[in-house]
């Protein structure tokens, strides 16, 4: 009797827990998702749309600046078609992720394999840059980039994004290299292999998943940046996606809900897909990678 009662109690807790968790996650997502597939007439309708359209998403890739939507409805006055910031965001994130994975690969290998004086200090330095709040760097970096002529360029923005991506890539790849048995390399070294070729030929190919993870997370870190883009970019043809969002507002009011929701969902879905694919590496990378040494 008592056992039966406890079993039912547990079942009840699980069901209620599932419902609360689902509501907590899904309610904030609902409005933007349903608006992004609505026709303009139904944009502010609280219920689900009576008919669904994907036109709002297709329009994101329309290269003509003043292309009219199929239906009337207030349209945001965008300085550039949305495809321009989409392209800029991709260029910046891909280059920043590539560079930080390459530099981080060598640095991570150094921290995982070599023993030397000052290694502890180096490790602390990288952890320091990992948690240092980047907003403090924004103003001086802007002044510096201005003086070397990289202000308002995508190159400048990409370089500055390494402040987010590089510490992460180093820590992530270090923890990855540490999991690879050192014996594999040692036997190669005995066979007369040099250190760099044992790294390039043995450890690196085994670390392909680690390299992919580093690239993907660095990509999302760069993709997620608003602050540096805001401070460094002033020409609208160089804008990245976060800067595009504010054009859908006028005096704090949303003027083009369907356009805005489509941009936001598209921008959000890219890191979400990447995270879902690499789900099991997230904890390894972010928590354990930084903690274990």
């Amino acid at each position: 009797m008592n056992k039966e009662y406890r079993k039912i109690k547990t079942q009840l807790i699980i069901v209620i827990g599932i419902i609360i968790l689902l509501l907590w996650i899904l309610i904030p997502l609902y409005w933007a998702l349903k608006t992004s597939v609505s026709y303009p007439e139904e944009a502010w309708n609280p219920g689900l749309p009576s008919k669904i359209t994907f036109e709002n998403y297709i329009q994101l890739f329309n290269p003509y600046p003043f292309a009219k939507r199929y239906a009337i409805g207030a349209e945001a006055a965008l300085p550039q078609p949305v495809i321009v910031p989409i392209k800029n965001s991709f260029i910046v994130a891909i280059i920043a992720a590539t560079v930080s994975t390459i530099i981080g690969m060598f640095a991570g290998y150094n921290l995982a394999r070599f023993h030397y004086k000052g290694k502890r200090l180096t490790m602390y330095y990288i952890l320091f840059t990992y948690i240092f709040p980047t907003f403090m760097l924004a103003i001086p970096l802007m002044v510096i980039l201005k003086q070397i002529g990289l202000l308002n360029t995508l190159q400048g923005l990409t370089f500055v994004h390494l402040a987010y991506t590089l510490p992460y890539s180093i820590l992530m790849l270090r923890s990855y290299f540490m999991e690879i048995p050192i014996e594999l390399e040692e036997s190669a070294l005995i066979d007369g292999c040099t250190r760099s070729s044992s790294f390039l030929r043995i450890t690196l190919p085994l670390s392909a998943p680690g390299l992919v993870t580093s690239f993907v997370f660095a990509f999302t870190l760069s993709w997620n940046d608003l602050l540096f883009a805001l401070i460094l970019l002033s020409s609208s043809e160089l804008y990245t996606l976060p800067l595009e969002m504010n054009f859908f507002l006028w005096g704090g009011e949303i003027v083009d809900p369907i356009g805005l929701s489509a941009v936001a969902v598209f921008t959000g879905i890219i890191p979400v897909i990447l995270y879902m694919i690499l789900q099991k590496y997230i904890v390894i990378g972010l928590v354990r990678g930084a903690l274990k040494r």
Partner: protein, 282 residues
């Protein structure tokens, strides 16, 4: 030979160290240097000594932004810890659909912060989700980003976006607790609450502390949420430190040296927190 080996090993990490030094250490010192200058439009920068620092200490922005940042960060981290811990304990139970819920729980955190803010533009809108829900339950609509509710509203966004980080960290900690401990406690007749207090909590305490400290750093440095939702308003109600430094530099005073002095003044607070966090992580 020994030197050659040492040099060879350093070459691996040198590009990273140079890049990080250009991006972190150099700007920090440069900021220090800027903070002693004065630059008015069309004029050459000139050295003014401590003038900017006196201005910073005499302006209420410093104290208002400090207070707001502490309210924002500590409240948000508190709720993120509670929710992250609860969901981690829940999704550590065995039931069907657990794997799916674990995956779904990462979703808020996987979204870029500015996208989360756009979601909440829709939710907080007068015609949007939350006011419709209030009306549905027969309650009065709220002005979510108005003077009274602005701070709780931005905290809610930060909590909704950030709790999965706690969930993931704590869940990893829970999975590392040896099952034998629970088994022997059960033989001794311990209740589930006793098991939680005496076995689970001591085991995951270091993880919770580390995750909370990391999150506290990031929340105190969060610019995006405030910029997207309120820009520090209404009437400085949500003016946090990152927002204030941006406001001083580009909106209000349009004074970059003054903003530099402001960030130097608050730098020690962040350095102390970083020191505590690094010690906890080590």
């Amino acid at each position: 030979m020994k030197y050659k080996k040492a040099l060879y090993e350093w070459i691996y990490i040198l590009p990273a160290l140079i890049t990080l030094t250009i991006l972190f250490i150099f700007p920090l010192f440069f900021n220090f240097w800027i903070s002693f200058q004065e630059k008015s439009l069309g004029k050459e920068a000139s050295f003014v000594g401590l003038k900017n620092y006196i201005k910073v200490f005499n302006s209420s922005v410093l104290y208002v932004s400090l207070l707001n940042t502490f309210i924002y960060a500590f409240t948000a981290v508190f709720f993120k810890t509670i929710i992250g811990l609860t969901v981690a304990l829940f999704l550590n139970m065995k039931f069907k659909g657990r794997g799916f819920l674990r995956g779904l729980s990462i979703l808020p955190w996987a979204l870029p912060m500015y996208v989360v803010c756009v979601l909440f533009w829709f939710n907080y809108d007068a015609k949007g989700t939350f006011n419709n829900l209030l009306r549905f339950f027969g309650l009065k609509p709220i002005h979510w980003l108005g003077f009274d509710y602005a701070m709780p509203s931005v905290i809610l966004i930060n909590v909704w976006h950030g709790w999965p980080f706690f969930f993931m960290g704590i869940l990893a900690g829970l999975q590392a607790v040896p099952i034998e401990l629970y088994e022997s406690a059960e033989i001794d007749g311990a209740s589930s609450f006793q098991k939680f207090i005496h076995i689970t909590l001591p085991f995951i305490k270091p993880v919770i502390l580390t995750v909370a400290l990391l999150s506290l750093m990031w929340t105190m440095g969060d610019f995006t949420t405030i910029y997207m939702m309120t820009s520090g308003g209404p009437v400085d109600k949500t003016l946090t430190i990152p927002m204030a430094s941006f406001q001083i530099a580009f909106f209000r005073e349009v004074d970059i040296p003054l903003a530099a002095a402001y960030t130097i003044v608050i730098l020690p607070i962040y350095l102390v927190l970083i020191f505590i966090t690094l010690r906890q992580m080590a």
